[in-house]
Symmetry: C2
């Protein structure tokens, strides 16, 4: 699966995602992890990347950070734009 | 001043910062603007960058995005870590 090494950041406590990233690096097939977040979860994604790198896996490098805008359809059919971010962390 | 072209993103409405960035590009000496944000304002900084580029200045490119961790001293003398982000936008 292409998205195998992706961790989607939502509203759960930061440490859950930190653990998911560490698990992915330690047991996954890829030496990269991609963090994806939208809207207010974007700040949490940055927290996750910083905590993983500072406290747990100092060898991990930020390979890229890309921002974009996604169109979300509301239940009533109207659309709204939300910022999103992808942080790619790579084992150095 | 070195920080002349920096826009600090805080808790004000997003469009204030969008306007500040547009003003900076149109009237400032530099063809670059640096957005700086900490903590929960990080998502707002991404919003600002996306709105400016999509709606107002499509020629503006994201030159770099850098995340880091800052130590903040609380009033009682204890310290806490907070994620920060710098987005550099450059006139293409």
């Amino acid at each position: 699966m292409a998205d195998d090494n992706t961790v989607y950041i939502g509203g759960k406590p930061v440490m859950r995602y930190v653990l998911a990233v560490i698990m992915q690096i330690n047991t996954g097939k890829s030496d990269e992890v991609v963090l994806k977040a939208r809207g207010r979860a974007v700040s949490r994604a940055v927290d996750v990347a910083e905590i993983v790198r500072r406290r747990f896996l100092p060898g991990l490098e930020v390979a890229s950070i890309v921002t974009s805008t996604e169109e979300i359809s509301r239940e009533d059919g109207s659309k709204t734009a939300v910022s999103s971010m992808e942080i790619t962390l790579k084992q150095g």
